[in-house]
């Protein structure tokens, strides 16, 4: 081949190498890192927004950008396509995706307990699981219905499942008898539509053997392998953001409300207040003061078991493949 | 001195109560003069309660006696106390005046 040919090949090779390097996510600390959240801005993600606003990521040497989530944003698409380095997933969902072959790893398990609740009105006569027989259950989306369905199967209940969109109005109007809600979110919405807790029957999935925690930070294995330091810093900065948010709830709420307004999302202070408080209960349960981001093998196993039993997956990947302890909070 | 008077048959009975002295003599004189002027010229005097008489008293009794006597009447004294009678005796007025023991005697003496 003449030199020309060699020259012609050089550029593609160089480009390939560069892109490989790029794809390998090798970057200096000043390169922007993106986090994609799995829903619209709300107190559920307080730690991230606060860490960003208070310059904590910056302090840790990270130039972090947050990609706003929402109904039209698929976290998984962003992460797998490389548009975002980090994303927040529910454990169950991530387990399923990992089982389906996506090289996703959990680098920090923030939620320490399940926040999923099946709620019914006492006035409809539902007081215990057996009362659910022949009643209408509104279940929202696949991600949220796995566990309730497992619960139904476990209790041998014969129910009428009504798929619903987000929102509890159909439940409030009596279109469904039971609906699934997150403790930190829709449960409060029900309360603040005028229902007192003593008028509601709640089935906490965590009380019925389905204590699968939700929120966690995930990234592609390749991302971690290329930049474990960045991942470590990201997790630790994030947790520091959460610490600040819990210690300064008024300021944190201010930041969140600001973000919500910017995203043209109705921002309800009372609701966010509740959400932040519940996130604290979830991330630091039982009065804990120290963070743990360690994913327990039991939680992963339960997650896998549910998916296998309901036939979503055949097998799940190994715990070591799924979870990598990152940062100082990942002690057992 | 108090002077009480009432009619008994044809006599006017006057009762002298207290003392007849310089202070009281004018009152006696006035009242009795009125009596005499209005026609009673038969006067019998009850001296049971006449406790004392001075020379002024004697004088006014003397005047009464003269007045009544001039008018042709009668003036009798009765029931006089011992001490008063003594005074009359010294002046010998017991001879001058008609002095009797009691009213009955007085009534009798004027018949």
């Amino acid at each position: 081949m003449p030199l020309k040919t060699k020259q012609n090949l050089l550029i593609p090779i160089v480009w390939f190498c560069c892109s490989f390097l790029l794809n390998a996510q090798s970057f200096t600390v000043n390169k922007p890192i993106k986090l994609v959240l799995h829903w619209v801005p709300q107190a559920q993600f307080a730690g991230y927004y606060v860490a960003l606003e208070k310059g904590i990521y910056q302090k840790f040497g990270l130039d972090l950008r947050i990609i706003t989530g929402g109904p039209n944003v698929s976290v998984n698409d962003c992460v797998t396509s490389g548009r975002a380095e980090f994303g927040t997933y529910f454990l169950l969902n991530a387990t399923k995706l990992a089982a389906q072959g996506i090289p996703l790893i959990n680098i920090a398990q923030l939620s320490r307990r399940s926040a999923l609740i099946l709620v019914a009105k006492k006035s409809s006569g539902i007081l215990k699981p057996d009362d659910l027989n022949d009643r209408k259950i509104g279940l929202y989306q696949e991600e949220f219905s796995d566990i309730p369905l497992a619960f139904i199967k476990n209790n041998s209940l014969d129910v009428n499942i009504i798929p619903i969109a987000t929102g509890i109005h159909i439940f409030l109007h009596g279109g469904t008898d039971v609906t699934n809600v997150m403790w930190y979110n829709e449960y409060h919405t029900i309360l603040n539509c005028g229902y007192n807790p003593d008028e509601l029957t709640t089935f906490y999935m965590s009380d019925y053997g389905f204590n699968v925690p939700e929120d966690g930070i995930y990234c592609l294995r390749s991302t971690y392998d290329a930049n474990p330091e960045v991942c470590k810093r990201f997790v630790e900065a994030t947790m520091e953001g959460w610490r600040y948010a819990f210690d300064h709830p008024v300021e944190a709420l201010d930041i969140i409300i600001g973000e919500m307004k910017e995203a043209h999302i109705p921002a309800n202070l009372a609701h966010q207040q509740w959400m932040l408080a519940r996130m604290q209960d979830i991330i630091l349960p039982n009065g804990q003061t120290e963070f743990t981001t360690y994913l327990t093998p039991d939680a992963y196993e339960m997650s896998g078991k549910i998916l296998i039993e309901n036939g979503s997956v055949k097998t799940v990947t190994s715990f070591e493949n799924f979870y990598v302890p990152v940062g100082k909070y990942a002690e057992k | 001195m108090e002077l009480k008077s009432y009619q008994e048959n044809k006599a006017t009975v006057i009762e002298i109560i207290g003392s007849l002295d310089t202070m009281t003599a004018p009152e006696f004189e006035k009242q009795v003069t009125e009596m005499i002027d209005s026609g009673s010229n038969i006067i019998i005097s009850d001296c049971n309660h006449l406790d004392y008489i001075s020379s002024s008293g004697l004088r006014v009794l003397l005047m009464t006696l003269k007045n009544i006597t001039n008018k042709g009447g009668k003036f009798v004294l009765f029931g006089m106390q011992e001490s008063v009678f003594e005074v009359f005796k010294i002046c010998r007025f017991d001879n001058l005046f008609t002095i009797v023991a009691d009213k009955a005697a007085a009534m009798q003496s004027i018949e």
């Binding site: 969109a165 109005h169 279109g175 469904t176 539509c193 005028g194 202070l269 | 020379s55 002046c91």
Partner: protein, 652 residues
């Protein structure tokens, strides 16, 4: 404390206190009644306003609801062809001004058996009506509330309000009506789909904005879930629910209010508005058709603002009134008490002796005026009385002056030089005459008839004072005259002669008790005559005491009777003769007891060996004084003691 204050102060204090009390009671009564009335009226207003607003809004909701309901009736009857369906929907939007958009959304396969979703949708875009549909799988209308809820509930329903798709600030609500097609095989019907109309709720906010609820009152509107659709704070619209507010302010009362409202209750309450922190009245009522609810809020302080204003004014007027009242009362009571004060001043002057002190001029006819007149009369009477008193006193003093002179004259006619015959040693005499008044009726007298004979007399004229003294003077003159004239007559004859003269022209019936003796100093022969007088005592040379108690006749001047007799005794030298009047024996002490003869006798017994007549006299006087003590002297005290010494001839 109040006792010693001036009338003016007392009047002011009592009247003011009373007035203030009355005013305070009145004020509180009026205030509480007014307040109640105002609040009651406001409550009624709120109620009416609420009802009116509900009615006017229902008058839009209900007719609007009819539109899809009517279409549902139509659709219930069977399958429509596509064109007709589109036409119907388009017409709904075109012909109804309040309808923004409308759809008929079918169950999967209900229209086209192979089509999951079929929902033609027409909406207004400016003047035009645009055709569209809701078939986007991403939208998945089957899971939308406006579809699912009426489907599951089998009844029409108004949706929660939402912002329109255009992204504007237009709040919309959708009314969904389910429709059913009959199942051919049997009589039953099967759910086929939902008919909706979308209407804008902008007019609703306008209605609320146009509500005139006093100045600071406002109305608010809640959705079925309690979310604010209309609220004075724009941030909370479509964002916050009443329960959120309750949670943020930790106010259970507000939460309870929200619960009542979303459950369609009507009511009225007084509550603290968390937005203003003020107490407000709140009347709430539901919109029966849509499940929304509204409340009318009236700040209590605005309601009572006028009342507060009024109170303040009344307070000011009241205070000013009280001050004015105080001033007036002060003035009037001052005016009333002024004459009293002046009168008091004038009477003080009168009391000090200025009887002509000017009394203040009062010409009112009230009690003060009458008092003044009475005082004037009293002043005149007083002045006259004082004048009379002065004159009488002056007269009296004149008389007393004359009496003193008369006294001196009287005393000068009674021998007062003792011893009377210093160069005779055969007789000694001492006498005293102390009159009870300035001039009296007692007398004594003695004189030498000739070388050997002494005449001595003592007498007591009936009565006292000037008449008695005059009579006494006459008697004494007669005695001397007769004695000189009838030089050798016996005492009896002399006394008889005296009596004849005294009886003549004696209209006053005065008489004098009289005792007269003639003593022959050489022989000791004593001749005497007693005309009704106290018998004298004789103390003989052996100190034996006897009384010369023969009385020879009436007192002198009584009447001409028989001639007086003469008594005769012989006395020896050393004999003392004690003449006295009843001023001695009838001397009274304070207990109105009389000295009596016994005491005189006792005193004389003590003196029985005393020759000196002065000593004897003074002893008796002393005894009498010692008896009468402080008692006023009621009668003249007269004594004459003659001591016959005899035998001694004057040495020449």
């Amino acid at each position: 404390m109040l006792r010693n204050r001036t009338l003016r102060f007392k009047l002011s204090a009592y009247i003011l206190t009373g007035t203030i009390l009355v005013m305070t009671v009145l004020f509180f009564y009026y205030y509480s009644v007014s307040r109640k009335l105002i609040l009651e009226s406001a409550r009624k207003n709120a109620q009416h306003l609420t009802m009116e607003t509900v009615n006017s809004i229902e008058n839009v909701f209900r007719p609007s609801a009819k539109i899809p309901e009517n279409l549902a009736f139509v659709l219930d009857n069977g399958i429509f062809d596509e064109d007709k369906l589109h036409c119907l929907v388009e017409t709904i939007v075109k012909k109804n001004s309040e309808v923004f958009g409308s759809t008929v959304a079918f169950e999967p396969g209900a229209f086209f058996p192979d089509q999951q979703r079929y929902a033609p949708y027409y909406f207004k875009n400016g003047e035009q009506v645009v055709e569209s549909d809701l078939n986007d799988p991403a939208y998945n209308y089957h899971l939308q509330d406006w579809y699912q809820i009426p489907k599951e509930l089998d009844k029409p329903i108004w949706s929660e309000p939402y912002f329109d798709e255009g992204g504007g600030d237009v709040i919309m609500a959708t009314y969904s009506v389910p429709f059913y097609w009959p199942v051919l095989e049997n009589r039953e019907t099967e759910f086929r789909g939902i008919i909706t109309i979308d209407i804008s709720l902008v007019w609703l906010t306008q209605v609320f904005n146009n509500l005139s609820i006093y100045e600071t009152g406002y109305g608010f509107l809640l959705s079925q879930s309690g979310k604010y659709l209309v609220h004075p704070n724009p941030d909370d619209i479509m964002n916050t629910s009443i329960f959120d507010i309750a949670e943020l302010h930790r106010d259970q009362k507000i939460r309870d209010l929200g619960r009542k409202m979303v459950r369609g209750e009507t009511g009225f309450m007084t509550i603290v508005d968390p937005f203003s922190g003020k107490e407000v009245f709140l009347h709430f009522a539901p919109f029966p058709s849509s499940g929304y609810s509204m409340g009318i809020v009236i700040p209590v302080d605005e309601l009572l603002a006028d009342l507060s204003h009024l109170n303040r004014n009344i307070g000011i007027i009241g205070v000013l009134g009280i001050l004015a009242l105080f001033g007036v009362i002060s003035l009037i009571s001052g005016r009333i008490t002024e004459p009293i004060r002046r009168l008091s001043g004038a009477t003080t002057l009168i009391g000090q002796g200025d009887f002509n002190a000017a009394l203040p001029k009062i010409d009112t006819n009230d009690e003060i005026g009458q008092l003044m007149h009475s005082f004037e009369k009293m002043q005149i009477a007083l002045a006259e009385y004082i004048e009379n008193l002065k004159r009488t006193t002056a007269d009296k003093e004149k008389i007393e002056g004359e009496l003193r002179i008369a006294h001196d004259i009287q005393m000068s006619i009674i021998p007062r030089t003792f011893p009377p015959f210093p160069d005779r040693s055969d007789v000694d005499i001492y006498g005293i005459l102390e009159s009870a008044k300035a001039v009296g009726g007692d007398l004594y007298d003695f004189f030498l008839l000739d070388e050997d004979r002494l005449g001595a007399a003592i007498g007591d004229v009936s009565g006292k004072g000037v008449p008695a003294s005059l009579f006494m003077a006459v008697t004494r003159t007669l005695l001397r005259a007769k004695s000189m004239n009838m030089k050798n007559a016996s005492p009896g004859k002399i006394v008889t002669s005296m009596d004849i003269d005294l009886c003549t022209e004696n209209d006053a019936s005065m008489f004098v008790t009289f005792f007269y003796f003639i003593l022959n100093l050489k022989t000791g022969e004593l001749e005497y005559c007693n005309a009704g007088h106290n018998p004298p005592f004789v103390l003989d040379e052996n100190s034996k005491i006897t009384a010369l108690d023969t009385v020879h006749g009436f007192p002198l001047g009584v009447m001409e009777a028989e001639p007086y007799q003469t008594g005769k005794i012989m006395i020896k030298p050393g004999t003392r003769i004690v003449l006295y009047t009843d001023g001695v024996t009838e001397a009274e002490n304070e207990a109105r007891e009389l000295f009596k003869e016994k005491r005189l006798l006792d005193t004389l017994k003590l003196m029985k060996d005393v020759q000196d007549p002065k000593e004897i006299t003074l002893a008796v006087k002393s005894a009498v004084k010692g008896f009468t003590l402080e008692a006023e002297q009621s009668d003249d005290l007269t004594m004459l003691v003659i001591t016959y010494l005899g035998g001694n001839f004057n040495q020449e």
